[in-house]
Amino acid sequence: MTKQDFRSRDAKLGFLLVLPAVILVILVVILPIISGIQISFTSQRVVGSEYEFIGLKNYFELFEDKQFIASLGKSAIWVLANGFFQTLAALLIALLINQPFRGQNFVRTWIILPWAVPAAVTAILWRWMFDASSGIVNTTIKGLDLVQKPVLFLANPDIAGMSLTFVNSWRYIPFLTIIFLASLASVPEEEYEAARVDGANPWLQFKSITFPNLLPTLTVLGLVGTLWASNVFDIIWMMTRGGPGEATTTVPVLMYDMAFYGYNISKATAGAIIFLFVLIIFAFVFIFANRKQFVVASETFQDLSK
């Protein structure tokens, strides 16, 4: 057999191996999006009802819908707050538990726990803890005389967004921490030793060794984290339903509300499609702007998988 034959045989095998994944993506991602685009051009109100083709009318309506514009803003704040808080906290925790201490392996393993808790359980748990009269958070801070009146974590429109950000971060920080830990483990110990001999203080070590090594990971997480945070629906819906008022109504929450409580599934779908395009454009711009880091990251992951 010639080399060429081998290569084409490898290509065929490769195609066969990715085929199931490709079919799955087509069935659960591509087809629903196409069908979603179709629905967004119609006047359908609820699933199964009659409708007619109305072109871009839903889209024009949305662009003049103050509620929708507001939800885009809420989503942007939500993503930024979550991204900033989660990344920073996860990085600090990772750096902290990367230092040798007793029980390190135990902590490293079980820190993943919040991530494994189902969203519904998390939501109920924190609603209960945030409760104004009997919640453990309020009884504690009142007991310590930090506040006079109970804090309305989920009912005060000024605080609800922060409370949700905290709970959502509580879920995702462990996962990010694990990723950071893996990334930290790939930094050669000798570079730190050399830096210590060179007299670099911990901050200079972090700045010139740790951070450049983490940068590709941070960049990838920046993209993935943004997309994840944008699509968070479960926690918000189960804890505040987008309230109080519309204080926590991000795009996914508004779309769900519009589709199943406002009985306007076609308009909600149009909103979702707009949001999808916003995210796609963001992803392209982000990847292009950070293409160098993505190349390094893919090399790192290849190294790790060796």
Partner: protein, 360 residues
């Protein structure tokens, strides 16, 4: 530059002692080599001097400062690591200047010193490259430059040549000797390569199982090894050993092995033991037509100018070096004589060298 004193240095990891009571004084401008097989404690000793490893017991003085509790950065020592440990995300230039930056030197001064060292080590063309884009030899020079640029009290080097290929290692060895001589540096150098140790060190500290077994200039370590371990470890090809008995006949001391008898030179008459281990180096044997020791050739290795011939003599397997012009094949019977001045006798109990009167 400064002197270094290691006093009663001990290191324990849990119950295991890896460095036991090391006492070495390194003079100002001296090139001292810790040499020994892997796991002998030489790297741990070096890491204690630099401060990357804590001491279990003992004292380390650099210049006239006790540095036991000083962090590595405050000891004013520079280290060259075995794998170079270059900062992978920095250019060569920033690698070289990093220690100066850490010390808060002005950017202008850093650039000046980096330029000077880059010129000295022929790195000028590479200053803007990252370590990934350098060859092994270039990385090695950057690692060296990173140490030199600091102008430290002491250079510590942990097998800096072991990752280079043979030819480059030879060349770099020479350059390293030239550089350290020119800078009149105090150097503590760790290697498992006895040739490197012999060629570079002003003095060798031969280590085995956590202890310094001999601390002497290279010639003395080679000619008067303190014990069987040193004799075997230093010198290539390694020394031959065989058990002998020492008898007295007609006012002479006679060495008796299972295959041959040999009259000992008078310089050995002071010893009283009746049993010993005889050691001789392969190049201290000479082929003879008659007399001497007889053996059957088992393997012949051509080394170039010489041949290393393995012989079976009685129960022992010995090796001797002969000129490459000798036509020898396995199975031949050979006779050889030993250079009487180059014999070594070791105690069978503690394997220490037995002194002859010839040697001081």
């Amino acid at each position: 530059m400064a002197s270094v004193a290691l006093k009663n240095l001990c290191k324990k990891f849990g119950q295991t002692s890896v460095v036991k009571d090391v006492n070495v004084e390194i003079g100002d401008g001296e090139f001292l080599v810790f040499v020994g097989p892997s796991g002998c404690g030489k790297t741990t000793t070096l890491r204690m001097v630099v401060g990357l490893e804590s001491l279990s017991e003992g004292e380390i003085h650099i210049g006239n400062r006790l540095v036991n509790n000083l962090p590595p950065g405050d000891r004013d020592v520079a280290m060259v690591f075995q794998n170079y440990a270059l900062y992978s995300h920095m250019t060569v230039s920033r690698n070289l200047g990093f220690a100066l930056k850490a010390r808060g030197l002005a950017e202008k001064e850093i650039t000046k010193r980096v330029q000077r060292v880059a010129k000295m080590l022929d790195l000028e063309e590479l200053l803007e490259r990252k370590p990934k884009q350098l060859s092994g030899g270039q990385r090695q020079r950057v690692a060296l430059g990173r140490a030199v640029v600091r102008n430290p009290q002491v250079f510590l080097m942990d097998e800096p040549l072991s990752n280079l290929d043979a030819l480059l290692r030879l060349q770099t060895r020479k350059e390293l000797i030239e550089l350290t001589t020119e800078l009149n540096s105090t150097v503590i150098y760790v290697t498992h390569d006895q040739v490197e140790a012999m060629t570079m060190g002003h003095r060798l500290a031969v280590m085995n199982k956590g202890e310094v077994v001999q601390l002497d200039p290279p010639e003395k370590v080679f000619n008067e090894p303190a014990n069987r371990f040193v004799a075997e470890f230093i010198g290539s090809p390694p020394m031959n050993f065989l058990d002998v008995e020492i008898a007295e006949e007609n006012f002479q001391k006679i060495l008796k092995s299972d295959a041959f008898d040999m009259v000992l030179p008078e310089t050995w008459y002071s010893i009283s033991e009746s049993k010993a281990i005889l050691g001789f180096r392969p190049h201290d044997a000479r082929l003879v037509a008659e007399g001497g020791v007889s053996g059957r050739v088992t393997v012949v290795e051509t080394l170039g100018a010489e041949k290393l011939v393995y012989l079976r003599v009685g129960k022992n397997s010995l090796s001797i070096l002969v000129p490459a012009t000798e036509k020898i094949r396995s199975g031949d019977q050979l006779r050889f004589d030993l250079n009487q001045d180059a014999l070594h006798l070791f105690n069978r109990e503690d394997e220490k060298r037995m002194p002859s009167t010839k040697q001081s």
